[in-house]
Protein backbone atom coordinates (compact mmCIF):
# COMPACT_ATOMS: atom_id res chain seq x y z
CA UNK A 1 0.00 0.00 0.00
CA UNK A 2 2.84 2.25 0.92
CA UNK A 3 4.64 3.42 -2.16
CA UNK A 4 7.78 1.93 -0.59
CA UNK A 5 6.18 -1.50 -0.68
CA UNK A 6 5.15 -1.20 -4.32
CA UNK A 7 8.46 -2.36 -5.80
CA UNK A 8 9.02 -5.36 -3.48
CA UNK A 9 5.44 -6.48 -4.13
CA UNK A 10 5.81 -6.47 -7.92
CA UNK A 11 9.28 -8.02 -7.68
CA UNK A 12 7.83 -10.82 -5.59
CA UNK A 13 5.04 -11.29 -8.15
CA UNK A 14 7.63 -11.54 -10.93
CA UNK A 15 9.66 -14.10 -9.03
CA UNK A 16 6.55 -16.18 -8.32
CA UNK A 17 5.60 -16.04 -12.02
CA UNK A 18 9.05 -17.18 -13.12
CA UNK A 19 8.97 -19.93 -10.51
CA UNK A 20 5.58 -21.14 -11.74
CA UNK A 21 6.77 -21.12 -15.38
CA UNK A 22 9.94 -23.04 -14.54
CA UNK A 23 8.10 -25.53 -12.39
CA UNK A 24 5.56 -26.05 -15.19
CA UNK A 25 8.26 -26.53 -17.82
CA UNK A 26 10.10 -29.00 -15.61
CA UNK A 27 7.04 -31.07 -14.72
CA UNK A 28 4.79 -31.10 -17.81
CA UNK A 29 6.55 -29.50 -20.81
CA UNK A 30 4.66 -27.02 -22.95
CA UNK A 31 1.34 -27.68 -21.23
CA UNK A 32 3.09 -27.09 -17.93
CA UNK A 33 4.41 -23.73 -19.14
CA UNK A 34 0.91 -22.79 -20.25
CA UNK A 35 -0.49 -23.91 -16.90
CA UNK A 36 2.16 -21.92 -15.05
CA UNK A 37 1.42 -18.83 -17.17
CA UNK A 38 -2.34 -19.00 -16.64
CA UNK A 39 -1.97 -19.71 -12.92
CA UNK A 40 0.37 -16.73 -12.57
CA UNK A 41 -2.13 -14.55 -14.49
CA UNK A 42 -5.04 -15.68 -12.31
CA UNK A 43 -3.24 -15.35 -8.97
CA UNK A 44 -1.30 -12.23 -9.91
CA UNK A 45 -4.42 -10.49 -11.21
CA UNK A 46 -6.37 -11.17 -8.05
CA UNK A 47 -3.46 -10.20 -5.77
CA UNK A 48 -2.94 -6.90 -7.62
CA UNK A 49 -6.69 -6.32 -7.42
CA UNK A 50 -6.53 -6.44 -3.62
CA UNK A 51 -3.18 -4.68 -3.37
CA UNK A 52 -3.41 -1.70 -5.70
CA UNK A 53 -4.24 1.70 -4.29
CA UNK A 54 -6.19 2.89 -7.30
CA UNK A 55 -9.61 1.31 -7.77
CA UNK A 56 -9.38 1.51 -11.56
CA UNK A 57 -6.08 -0.37 -11.55
CA UNK A 58 -7.72 -3.01 -9.38
CA UNK A 59 -10.51 -3.31 -11.91
CA UNK A 60 -8.06 -3.62 -14.80
CA UNK A 61 -6.07 -6.28 -12.96
CA UNK A 62 -9.23 -8.39 -12.88
CA UNK A 63 -8.70 -8.79 -16.61
CA UNK A 64 -5.63 -10.90 -15.84
CA UNK A 65 -7.67 -13.07 -13.50
CA UNK A 66 -10.50 -13.59 -16.00
CA UNK A 67 -8.11 -14.32 -18.88
CA UNK A 68 -6.09 -16.70 -16.73
CA UNK A 69 -9.21 -18.63 -15.75
CA UNK A 70 -10.17 -18.81 -19.44
CA UNK A 71 -6.73 -20.23 -20.18
CA UNK A 72 -7.16 -22.86 -17.47
CA UNK A 73 -10.53 -23.85 -19.01
CA UNK A 74 -8.74 -24.11 -22.37
CA UNK A 75 -6.11 -26.44 -20.93
CA UNK A 76 -8.87 -28.64 -19.50
CA UNK A 77 -10.33 -29.02 -23.01
CA UNK A 78 -13.36 -26.80 -22.32
CA UNK A 79 -12.72 -24.38 -25.18
CA UNK A 80 -16.34 -23.17 -25.41
CA UNK A 81 -16.27 -22.25 -21.73
CA UNK A 82 -12.90 -20.52 -22.21
CA UNK A 83 -14.13 -18.30 -25.05
CA UNK A 84 -17.42 -17.61 -23.23
CA UNK A 85 -15.38 -16.58 -20.17
CA UNK A 86 -13.47 -14.00 -22.23
CA UNK A 87 -16.54 -12.76 -24.09
CA UNK A 88 -18.76 -12.39 -21.03
CA UNK A 89 -16.37 -11.60 -18.18
CA UNK A 90 -13.72 -9.52 -19.94
CA UNK A 91 -15.79 -8.05 -22.76
CA UNK A 92 -19.01 -7.48 -20.84
CA UNK A 93 -18.78 -7.56 -17.05
CA UNK A 94 -15.34 -5.95 -16.78
CA UNK A 95 -16.42 -3.16 -19.15
CA UNK A 96 -19.40 -2.50 -16.87
CA UNK A 97 -17.25 -2.60 -13.71
CA UNK A 98 -14.88 -0.09 -15.30
CA UNK A 99 -17.78 2.10 -16.31
CA UNK A 100 -18.99 2.16 -12.72
CA UNK A 101 -15.55 2.59 -11.17
CA UNK A 102 -14.52 5.44 -13.47
CA UNK A 103 -17.71 7.30 -12.62
CA UNK A 104 -17.27 6.93 -8.87
CA UNK A 105 -14.99 9.34 -6.94
CA UNK A 106 -11.60 7.95 -5.87
CA UNK A 107 -11.37 7.09 -2.19
CA UNK A 108 -7.71 6.38 -1.52
CA UNK A 109 -7.98 6.45 2.27
CA UNK A 110 -10.12 3.33 2.12
CA UNK A 111 -7.16 1.19 1.22
CA UNK A 112 -4.81 0.92 4.17
CA UNK A 113 -2.18 -1.79 4.47
CA UNK A 114 -3.85 -3.23 7.57
CA UNK A 115 -7.16 -3.55 5.73
CA UNK A 116 -5.52 -5.19 2.71
CA UNK A 117 -3.62 -7.66 4.88
CA UNK A 118 -6.75 -8.34 6.91
CA UNK A 119 -8.71 -9.01 3.74
CA UNK A 120 -5.98 -11.29 2.41
CA UNK A 121 -5.84 -13.21 5.69
CA UNK A 122 -9.63 -13.58 5.69
CA UNK A 123 -9.60 -14.79 2.09
CA UNK A 124 -6.76 -17.25 2.65
CA UNK A 125 -8.46 -18.53 5.79
CA UNK A 126 -11.73 -19.07 3.93
CA UNK A 127 -9.95 -20.83 1.06
CA UNK A 128 -8.02 -23.02 3.48
CA UNK A 129 -11.17 -23.92 5.41
CA UNK A 130 -13.23 -24.76 2.31
CA UNK A 131 -10.24 -26.55 0.78
CA UNK A 132 -9.70 -28.71 3.83
CA UNK A 133 -13.40 -29.64 3.90
CA UNK A 134 -13.53 -30.38 0.15
CA UNK A 135 -10.14 -32.03 -0.38
CA UNK A 136 -10.87 -34.92 1.93
CA UNK A 137 -14.42 -35.67 0.77
CA UNK A 138 -14.34 -35.36 -3.03
CA UNK A 139 -13.09 -38.29 -5.08
CA UNK A 140 -10.78 -36.39 -7.46
CA UNK A 141 -10.32 -37.94 -10.87
CA UNK A 142 -6.61 -37.77 -11.61
CA UNK A 143 -4.86 -38.40 -14.90
CA UNK A 144 -1.29 -38.19 -16.16
CA UNK A 145 -2.33 -36.82 -19.55
CA UNK A 146 -4.61 -33.84 -20.10
CA UNK A 147 -7.50 -34.65 -22.45
CA UNK A 148 -7.61 -33.46 -26.05
CA UNK A 149 -10.19 -30.67 -26.49
CA UNK A 150 -13.19 -32.43 -27.97
CA UNK A 151 -16.05 -30.11 -27.05
CA UNK A 152 -18.50 -29.58 -29.87
CA UNK A 153 -20.56 -26.41 -29.67
CA UNK A 154 -23.54 -28.12 -31.32
CA UNK A 155 -23.60 -30.76 -28.54
CA UNK A 156 -23.78 -27.98 -25.94
CA UNK A 157 -26.56 -26.30 -27.93
CA UNK A 158 -28.57 -29.52 -28.20
CA UNK A 159 -28.10 -30.21 -24.49
CA UNK A 160 -29.46 -26.75 -23.66
CA UNK A 161 -32.70 -27.33 -25.58
CA UNK A 162 -33.12 -31.03 -24.85
CA UNK A 163 -36.20 -31.72 -22.65
CA UNK A 164 -34.17 -34.51 -21.03
CA UNK A 165 -31.23 -32.14 -20.63
CA UNK A 166 -30.99 -28.58 -19.39
CA UNK A 167 -33.95 -26.84 -21.04
CA UNK A 168 -35.61 -25.83 -17.74
CA UNK A 169 -32.55 -24.19 -16.12
CA UNK A 170 -31.64 -22.62 -19.48
CA UNK A 171 -35.07 -21.06 -19.99
CA UNK A 172 -35.26 -20.02 -16.33
CA UNK A 173 -31.93 -18.22 -16.65
CA UNK A 174 -33.21 -16.50 -19.79
CA UNK A 175 -36.38 -15.41 -17.93
CA UNK A 176 -34.41 -14.04 -14.98
CA UNK A 177 -32.11 -12.09 -17.28
CA UNK A 178 -35.07 -10.63 -19.20
CA UNK A 179 -36.78 -9.60 -15.97
CA UNK A 180 -33.52 -8.02 -14.76
CA UNK A 181 -33.19 -6.10 -18.04
CA UNK A 182 -36.76 -4.80 -17.91
CA UNK A 183 -36.33 -3.84 -14.25
CA UNK A 184 -33.07 -2.01 -15.00
CA UNK A 185 -34.74 -0.04 -17.78
CA UNK A 186 -37.67 0.77 -15.48
CA UNK A 187 -35.37 2.06 -12.72
CA UNK A 188 -33.12 4.03 -15.05
CA UNK A 189 -36.00 5.48 -17.06
CA UNK A 190 -36.67 9.18 -16.72
CA UNK A 191 -40.15 9.88 -15.47
CA UNK A 192 -42.21 12.62 -17.05
CA UNK A 193 -41.84 14.71 -13.86
CA UNK A 194 -38.00 14.62 -14.22
CA UNK A 195 -38.20 16.17 -17.63
CA UNK A 196 -40.27 19.24 -16.73
CA UNK A 197 -38.38 22.34 -15.72
CA UNK A 198 -38.63 22.80 -11.90
CA UNK A 199 -38.35 26.57 -12.33
CA UNK A 200 -41.30 26.73 -14.70
CA UNK A 201 -43.68 27.61 -11.85
CA UNK A 202 -41.47 30.40 -10.60
CA UNK A 203 -41.40 31.96 -14.00
CA UNK A 204 -45.14 31.70 -14.32
Amino acid sequence: MDDKLQKPFYAALGVITLGLLGWGAASAGAQGIAFGLFTALTLGGSLICVWERSVVRSAFSLMGTFTGVAGLFLLLGADFLAVAQILIYVGGILALILFGVMLSPPDLAERKLSRVLGGLALMLGAVAWVGSKVAGTVAWATTDELPEPTTKVDEIGVAFLDPEGYVVPFELAAMILTVALVAAVYIARRKASDLTDPRAEERA
Partner: protein
Amino acid sequence: MNLMALEAATTGNAFTELLGGIAPEGTPTWALWLGAAGAGVGILVAFVSLVAMFSVWLERKVSAHIQCRYGPMYAGGWHGWAQTLADGVKLLLKEDMIPLGADKPLFMLAPALVLGAIFGALVALPLAPGFFFADVNMGLFLILAFSSLTTIGVVMAGWASNSKWSLYGAMREAAQVVAYEVPLGVSLFVPLMVAGTFSLTEASAAQSGWFGMHWFIFQNPFMLPAFIIFFIAALAETKRAPFDLPEAESELVAGFMTEYSGIRWSFFFMEEYAAMFLMSAVGAVFFFGGYHSPLTALFPEEATTGLLYQLVCAGTLIFKSFVGVFVMMWLRWTLPRLRIDQVMSMGYKYLTPLALVCVLGAAIWETIFA
Protein backbone atom coordinates in the same frame (compact mmCIF):
# COMPACT_ATOMS: atom_id res chain seq x y z
CA MET B 1 -2.39 -12.73 -25.02
CA ASN B 2 -2.27 -15.37 -27.71
CA LEU B 3 -4.05 -18.23 -25.99
CA MET B 4 -5.10 -20.00 -29.12
CA ALA B 5 -1.65 -19.82 -30.72
CA LEU B 6 -0.38 -21.52 -27.61
CA GLU B 7 -3.17 -24.06 -27.85
CA ALA B 8 -2.35 -24.74 -31.50
CA ALA B 9 1.30 -25.07 -30.59
CA THR B 10 0.66 -27.54 -27.80
CA THR B 11 -1.45 -29.84 -29.95
CA GLY B 12 1.18 -29.91 -32.68
CA ASN B 13 0.97 -28.42 -36.17
CA ALA B 14 2.94 -27.73 -39.31
CA PHE B 15 5.26 -25.34 -37.48
CA THR B 16 6.29 -27.89 -34.84
CA GLU B 17 6.90 -30.51 -37.56
CA LEU B 18 8.95 -28.03 -39.58
CA LEU B 19 10.99 -27.00 -36.55
CA GLY B 20 11.43 -30.64 -35.54
CA GLY B 21 13.09 -31.25 -38.89
CA ILE B 22 15.56 -28.39 -38.44
CA ALA B 23 16.29 -28.57 -34.71
CA PRO B 24 19.17 -30.72 -33.46
CA GLU B 25 18.45 -34.17 -32.05
CA GLY B 26 17.31 -34.16 -28.43
CA THR B 27 15.67 -30.73 -28.36
CA PRO B 28 12.91 -30.91 -25.73
CA THR B 29 9.41 -30.83 -27.22
CA TRP B 30 8.36 -27.80 -25.16
CA ALA B 31 11.18 -25.81 -26.79
CA LEU B 32 9.82 -26.84 -30.21
CA TRP B 33 6.34 -25.78 -29.14
CA LEU B 34 7.55 -22.43 -27.89
CA GLY B 35 9.46 -21.93 -31.14
CA ALA B 36 6.37 -22.78 -33.16
CA ALA B 37 4.26 -20.36 -31.12
CA GLY B 38 6.92 -17.69 -31.66
CA ALA B 39 6.95 -18.30 -35.41
CA GLY B 40 3.14 -18.07 -35.49
CA VAL B 41 3.16 -14.78 -33.63
CA GLY B 42 5.87 -13.47 -35.97
CA ILE B 43 3.82 -14.31 -39.06
CA LEU B 44 0.75 -12.66 -37.48
CA VAL B 45 2.70 -9.48 -36.73
CA ALA B 46 3.99 -9.35 -40.31
CA PHE B 47 0.50 -9.96 -41.71
CA VAL B 48 -1.12 -7.27 -39.56
CA SER B 49 1.63 -4.78 -40.44
CA LEU B 50 1.20 -5.43 -44.16
CA VAL B 51 -2.60 -5.14 -43.99
CA ALA B 52 -2.32 -1.91 -41.99
CA MET B 53 0.29 -0.45 -44.35
CA PHE B 54 -1.75 -1.16 -47.45
CA SER B 55 -4.99 0.03 -45.78
CA VAL B 56 -3.49 3.33 -44.69
CA TRP B 57 -2.26 3.99 -48.24
CA LEU B 58 -5.66 2.94 -49.60
CA GLU B 59 -7.47 5.20 -47.13
CA ARG B 60 -5.42 8.21 -48.20
CA LYS B 61 -5.96 7.44 -51.88
CA VAL B 62 -9.70 6.77 -51.49
CA SER B 63 -10.25 9.91 -49.43
CA ALA B 64 -8.21 11.95 -51.92
CA HIS B 65 -10.11 10.73 -54.95
CA ILE B 66 -13.47 11.24 -53.23
CA GLN B 67 -12.40 14.85 -52.63
CA CYS B 68 -11.03 15.28 -56.20
CA ARG B 69 -7.39 15.21 -55.06
CA TYR B 70 -4.56 12.82 -55.88
CA GLY B 71 -3.30 12.02 -52.36
CA PRO B 72 0.32 10.88 -51.87
CA MET B 73 2.07 10.74 -55.27
CA TYR B 74 5.84 10.92 -54.73
CA ALA B 75 7.12 8.46 -52.09
CA GLY B 76 8.30 5.29 -53.84
CA GLY B 77 7.50 6.54 -57.33
CA TRP B 78 4.29 4.79 -58.36
CA HIS B 79 1.30 6.64 -56.85
CA GLY B 80 3.10 7.11 -53.54
CA TRP B 81 3.03 3.41 -52.68
CA ALA B 82 5.85 3.79 -50.12
CA GLN B 83 4.15 6.64 -48.24
CA THR B 84 3.05 4.43 -45.33
CA LEU B 85 6.51 2.86 -45.13
CA ALA B 86 8.02 6.33 -44.77
CA ASP B 87 5.38 7.26 -42.19
CA GLY B 88 6.13 4.05 -40.27
CA VAL B 89 9.86 4.84 -40.13
CA LYS B 90 9.04 8.37 -38.99
CA LEU B 91 6.76 7.07 -36.23
CA LEU B 92 9.39 4.57 -35.06
CA LEU B 93 12.00 7.31 -34.74
CA LYS B 94 9.73 9.75 -32.89
CA GLU B 95 10.28 10.57 -29.25
CA ASP B 96 8.18 8.45 -26.94
CA MET B 97 6.10 10.86 -24.87
CA ILE B 98 4.30 9.85 -21.67
CA PRO B 99 2.40 12.70 -19.98
CA LEU B 100 3.48 13.44 -16.39
CA GLY B 101 -0.01 12.96 -14.98
CA ALA B 102 -0.56 9.67 -16.79
CA ASP B 103 -0.80 6.31 -15.09
CA LYS B 104 2.45 5.07 -16.62
CA PRO B 105 2.12 1.25 -16.51
CA LEU B 106 -1.46 1.31 -17.81
CA PHE B 107 -0.56 3.96 -20.40
CA MET B 108 2.15 1.69 -21.76
CA LEU B 109 0.09 -1.49 -21.53
CA ALA B 110 -3.01 -0.20 -23.36
CA PRO B 111 -1.67 -0.10 -26.98
CA ALA B 112 -0.10 -3.53 -26.55
CA LEU B 113 -3.36 -4.92 -25.20
CA VAL B 114 -5.37 -3.48 -28.11
CA LEU B 115 -2.97 -4.93 -30.67
CA GLY B 116 -2.64 -8.26 -28.84
CA ALA B 117 -6.41 -8.70 -28.81
CA ILE B 118 -6.65 -8.25 -32.56
CA PHE B 119 -3.82 -10.78 -33.05
CA GLY B 120 -5.79 -13.22 -30.93
CA ALA B 121 -8.85 -12.69 -33.10
CA LEU B 122 -6.92 -13.10 -36.38
CA VAL B 123 -5.70 -16.52 -35.26
CA ALA B 124 -9.09 -18.01 -36.11
CA LEU B 125 -9.28 -16.54 -39.62
CA PRO B 126 -8.55 -19.08 -42.37
CA LEU B 127 -7.30 -17.52 -45.63
CA ALA B 128 -7.55 -20.77 -47.61
CA PRO B 129 -8.43 -24.43 -46.89
CA GLY B 130 -4.86 -25.02 -45.69
CA PHE B 131 -3.83 -21.52 -44.60
CA PHE B 132 -4.75 -20.98 -40.97
CA PHE B 133 -3.15 -20.71 -37.57
CA ALA B 134 -5.69 -22.74 -35.67
CA ASP B 135 -8.80 -24.36 -37.10
CA VAL B 136 -10.71 -23.46 -34.00
CA ASN B 137 -13.99 -25.28 -33.56
CA MET B 138 -15.66 -22.01 -32.47
CA GLY B 139 -13.77 -19.57 -34.66
CA LEU B 140 -16.47 -16.91 -34.91
CA PHE B 141 -17.12 -16.98 -31.17
CA LEU B 142 -13.39 -16.54 -30.57
CA ILE B 143 -13.20 -13.60 -32.99
CA LEU B 144 -16.12 -11.84 -31.28
CA ALA B 145 -14.60 -12.48 -27.84
CA PHE B 146 -11.18 -11.13 -28.75
CA SER B 147 -12.50 -8.11 -30.61
CA SER B 148 -14.48 -7.19 -27.48
CA LEU B 149 -11.13 -7.25 -25.63
CA THR B 150 -9.94 -4.26 -27.67
CA THR B 151 -12.60 -2.18 -25.89
CA ILE B 152 -10.87 -2.78 -22.56
CA GLY B 153 -7.62 -1.59 -24.13
CA VAL B 154 -9.26 1.59 -25.41
CA VAL B 155 -10.88 2.28 -22.03
CA MET B 156 -7.49 1.68 -20.39
CA ALA B 157 -5.81 4.11 -22.78
CA GLY B 158 -8.46 6.74 -22.16
CA TRP B 159 -8.30 6.48 -18.39
CA ALA B 160 -4.51 6.18 -18.12
CA SER B 161 -3.98 9.32 -20.24
CA ASN B 162 -5.51 11.40 -17.43
CA SER B 163 -7.05 13.85 -19.88
CA LYS B 164 -10.68 14.86 -20.31
CA TRP B 165 -10.70 14.27 -24.06
CA SER B 166 -9.28 10.80 -23.63
CA LEU B 167 -11.69 9.85 -20.88
CA TYR B 168 -14.69 11.06 -22.90
CA GLY B 169 -13.48 9.04 -25.88
CA ALA B 170 -13.05 5.95 -23.72
CA MET B 171 -16.53 6.27 -22.19
CA ARG B 172 -18.08 6.67 -25.63
CA GLU B 173 -16.19 3.63 -26.88
CA ALA B 174 -17.36 1.50 -23.96
CA ALA B 175 -21.00 2.56 -24.34
CA GLN B 176 -20.95 2.20 -28.11
CA VAL B 177 -19.32 -1.22 -28.24
CA VAL B 178 -21.55 -2.68 -25.52
CA ALA B 179 -24.58 -1.42 -27.47
CA TYR B 180 -23.47 -2.75 -30.87
CA GLU B 181 -22.09 -6.10 -29.76
CA VAL B 182 -25.68 -7.37 -29.48
CA PRO B 183 -26.85 -6.64 -33.07
CA LEU B 184 -23.43 -7.78 -34.37
CA GLY B 185 -23.73 -11.18 -32.72
CA VAL B 186 -27.46 -11.60 -33.36
CA SER B 187 -27.23 -10.72 -37.08
CA LEU B 188 -24.53 -13.38 -37.45
CA PHE B 189 -26.96 -16.00 -36.11
CA VAL B 190 -28.72 -15.91 -39.50
CA PRO B 191 -25.79 -17.32 -41.56
CA LEU B 192 -24.78 -19.45 -38.56
CA MET B 193 -28.14 -21.20 -38.74
CA VAL B 194 -27.51 -22.09 -42.39
CA ALA B 195 -23.86 -23.01 -41.83
CA GLY B 196 -24.52 -25.00 -38.66
CA THR B 197 -21.00 -24.28 -37.43
CA PHE B 198 -18.91 -21.59 -35.72
CA SER B 199 -15.81 -22.70 -37.63
CA LEU B 200 -14.83 -20.31 -40.42
CA THR B 201 -13.15 -23.11 -42.36
CA GLU B 202 -16.30 -25.23 -42.37
CA ALA B 203 -18.52 -22.24 -43.19
CA SER B 204 -16.34 -21.42 -46.20
CA ALA B 205 -16.26 -25.04 -47.33
CA ALA B 206 -20.08 -25.18 -47.20
CA GLN B 207 -20.35 -22.47 -49.90
CA SER B 208 -18.40 -24.17 -52.68
CA GLY B 209 -21.33 -25.32 -54.87
CA TRP B 210 -23.15 -23.51 -57.73
CA PHE B 211 -19.88 -22.88 -59.56
CA GLY B 212 -18.43 -21.09 -56.55
CA MET B 213 -21.51 -18.89 -56.05
CA HIS B 214 -23.35 -20.98 -53.44
CA TRP B 215 -23.04 -18.05 -51.05
CA PHE B 216 -25.07 -17.79 -47.85
CA ILE B 217 -26.37 -14.37 -48.92
CA PHE B 218 -28.47 -16.09 -51.63
CA GLN B 219 -29.81 -18.79 -49.28
CA ASN B 220 -32.83 -17.03 -47.85
CA PRO B 221 -34.47 -13.59 -47.98
CA PHE B 222 -33.36 -12.64 -44.44
CA MET B 223 -29.68 -12.80 -45.30
CA LEU B 224 -29.44 -9.39 -46.98
CA PRO B 225 -31.02 -7.41 -44.10
CA ALA B 226 -28.93 -9.44 -41.66
CA PHE B 227 -25.80 -8.51 -43.61
CA ILE B 228 -26.71 -4.81 -43.62
CA ILE B 229 -27.23 -4.92 -39.84
CA PHE B 230 -23.95 -6.81 -39.45
CA PHE B 231 -22.10 -4.24 -41.54
CA ILE B 232 -23.49 -1.26 -39.61
CA ALA B 233 -22.66 -2.94 -36.29
CA ALA B 234 -19.18 -3.79 -37.59
CA LEU B 235 -18.64 -0.12 -38.44
CA ALA B 236 -19.57 0.79 -34.87
CA GLU B 237 -17.34 -1.98 -33.44
CA THR B 238 -14.34 -0.80 -35.42
CA LYS B 239 -15.02 2.87 -34.52
CA ARG B 240 -15.31 3.87 -38.17
CA ALA B 241 -17.29 6.85 -39.40
CA PRO B 242 -20.19 7.58 -39.03
CA PHE B 243 -19.55 5.91 -35.64
CA ASP B 244 -16.09 7.37 -34.93
CA LEU B 245 -17.27 9.17 -31.78
CA PRO B 246 -14.49 7.75 -29.54
CA GLU B 247 -11.94 9.70 -31.60
CA ALA B 248 -14.15 12.49 -32.94
CA GLU B 249 -11.52 15.06 -33.87
CA SER B 250 -13.88 18.02 -34.08
CA GLU B 251 -15.02 17.54 -30.47
CA LEU B 252 -12.40 15.49 -28.60
CA VAL B 253 -9.07 16.35 -30.35
CA ALA B 254 -8.34 12.65 -30.99
CA GLY B 255 -10.44 10.99 -28.29
CA PHE B 256 -8.78 8.16 -26.43
CA MET B 257 -5.47 8.58 -28.30
CA THR B 258 -5.04 12.32 -27.72
CA GLU B 259 -2.03 11.82 -25.45
CA TYR B 260 -0.34 9.12 -27.49
CA SER B 261 2.47 9.68 -29.95
CA GLY B 262 5.04 7.76 -31.94
CA ILE B 263 4.89 3.99 -32.19
CA ARG B 264 2.29 3.58 -29.43
CA TRP B 265 -0.06 5.82 -31.38
CA SER B 266 0.53 3.79 -34.52
CA PHE B 267 -0.44 0.62 -32.62
CA PHE B 268 -3.97 2.02 -32.34
CA PHE B 269 -4.03 2.62 -36.08
CA MET B 270 -2.73 -0.86 -36.85
CA GLU B 271 -5.49 -2.24 -34.64
CA GLU B 272 -8.13 -0.14 -36.39
CA TYR B 273 -7.16 -1.31 -39.88
CA ALA B 274 -6.64 -4.91 -38.78
CA ALA B 275 -10.09 -4.84 -37.16
CA MET B 276 -11.64 -3.44 -40.36
CA PHE B 277 -9.97 -6.21 -42.36
CA LEU B 278 -11.06 -8.83 -39.84
CA MET B 279 -14.70 -7.68 -39.75
CA SER B 280 -14.84 -7.56 -43.56
CA ALA B 281 -13.30 -11.03 -43.71
CA VAL B 282 -15.91 -12.34 -41.25
CA GLY B 283 -18.62 -10.79 -43.43
CA ALA B 284 -17.05 -12.34 -46.54
CA VAL B 285 -16.87 -15.78 -44.92
CA PHE B 286 -20.37 -15.81 -43.48
CA PHE B 287 -22.26 -14.01 -46.25
CA PHE B 288 -20.18 -13.94 -49.46
CA GLY B 289 -18.78 -17.42 -49.95
CA GLY B 290 -15.55 -17.20 -47.95
CA TYR B 291 -12.63 -18.15 -50.19
CA HIS B 292 -14.93 -19.53 -52.91
CA SER B 293 -15.61 -17.73 -56.17
CA PRO B 294 -16.11 -18.77 -59.82
CA LEU B 295 -12.32 -18.55 -60.09
CA THR B 296 -11.71 -21.22 -57.46
CA ALA B 297 -14.49 -23.36 -58.96
CA LEU B 298 -12.42 -23.62 -62.18
CA PHE B 299 -9.97 -25.92 -60.42
CA PRO B 300 -10.67 -29.65 -60.96
CA GLU B 301 -11.27 -31.75 -57.86
CA GLU B 302 -7.77 -33.28 -57.80
CA ALA B 303 -6.04 -29.85 -57.97
CA THR B 304 -7.69 -28.57 -54.78
CA THR B 305 -4.81 -29.67 -52.57
CA GLY B 306 -2.15 -27.86 -54.62
CA LEU B 307 -0.36 -24.67 -53.61
CA LEU B 308 -1.78 -22.70 -56.58
CA TYR B 309 -5.35 -23.43 -55.45
CA GLN B 310 -4.50 -22.34 -51.91
CA LEU B 311 -3.01 -19.10 -53.19
CA VAL B 312 -6.05 -18.38 -55.38
CA CYS B 313 -8.33 -19.06 -52.39
CA ALA B 314 -6.29 -16.77 -50.14
CA GLY B 315 -6.28 -14.09 -52.85
CA THR B 316 -10.05 -14.38 -53.23
CA LEU B 317 -10.72 -13.92 -49.52
CA ILE B 318 -8.23 -11.04 -49.23
CA PHE B 319 -9.84 -9.36 -52.26
CA LYS B 320 -13.34 -9.75 -50.80
CA SER B 321 -12.15 -8.39 -47.46
CA PHE B 322 -10.59 -5.35 -49.09
CA VAL B 323 -13.83 -4.69 -50.96
CA GLY B 324 -15.43 -4.47 -47.50
CA VAL B 325 -12.61 -2.23 -46.27
CA PHE B 326 -13.06 -0.01 -49.34
CA VAL B 327 -16.80 0.38 -48.63
CA MET B 328 -15.98 1.33 -45.02
CA MET B 329 -13.59 4.02 -46.30
CA TRP B 330 -16.10 5.22 -48.86
CA LEU B 331 -18.70 5.63 -46.09
CA ARG B 332 -16.21 7.43 -43.86
CA TRP B 333 -15.49 10.11 -46.46
CA THR B 334 -19.15 10.45 -47.44
CA LEU B 335 -21.23 10.45 -44.26
CA PRO B 336 -21.20 12.98 -41.41
CA ARG B 337 -20.67 11.76 -37.85
CA LEU B 338 -23.70 10.79 -35.75
CA ARG B 339 -24.46 12.26 -32.33
CA ILE B 340 -23.96 9.93 -29.35
CA ASP B 341 -27.70 9.74 -28.59
CA GLN B 342 -28.38 8.90 -32.24
CA VAL B 343 -25.74 6.15 -32.06
CA MET B 344 -27.33 4.70 -28.92
CA SER B 345 -30.92 4.80 -30.15
CA MET B 346 -29.86 3.30 -33.49
CA GLY B 347 -28.18 0.38 -31.73
CA TYR B 348 -30.75 -0.37 -29.05
CA LYS B 349 -34.04 0.71 -30.63
CA TYR B 350 -33.60 -0.24 -34.28
CA LEU B 351 -30.72 -2.62 -35.04
CA THR B 352 -31.23 -5.06 -32.15
CA PRO B 353 -34.99 -5.64 -32.74
CA LEU B 354 -34.45 -5.81 -36.52
CA ALA B 355 -31.68 -8.39 -36.06
CA LEU B 356 -33.99 -10.45 -33.83
CA VAL B 357 -36.74 -10.29 -36.49
CA CYS B 358 -34.21 -11.50 -39.08
CA VAL B 359 -33.21 -14.44 -36.87
CA LEU B 360 -36.84 -15.41 -36.29
CA GLY B 361 -37.68 -15.12 -39.98
CA ALA B 362 -34.64 -17.08 -41.07
CA ALA B 363 -35.41 -19.80 -38.51
CA ILE B 364 -38.96 -20.16 -39.85
CA TRP B 365 -37.75 -20.07 -43.47
CA GLU B 366 -35.10 -22.70 -42.83
CA THR B 367 -37.58 -24.96 -41.02
CA ILE B 368 -40.08 -24.79 -43.89
CA PHE B 369 -37.87 -24.78 -46.99
CA ALA B 370 -34.59 -26.41 -46.00
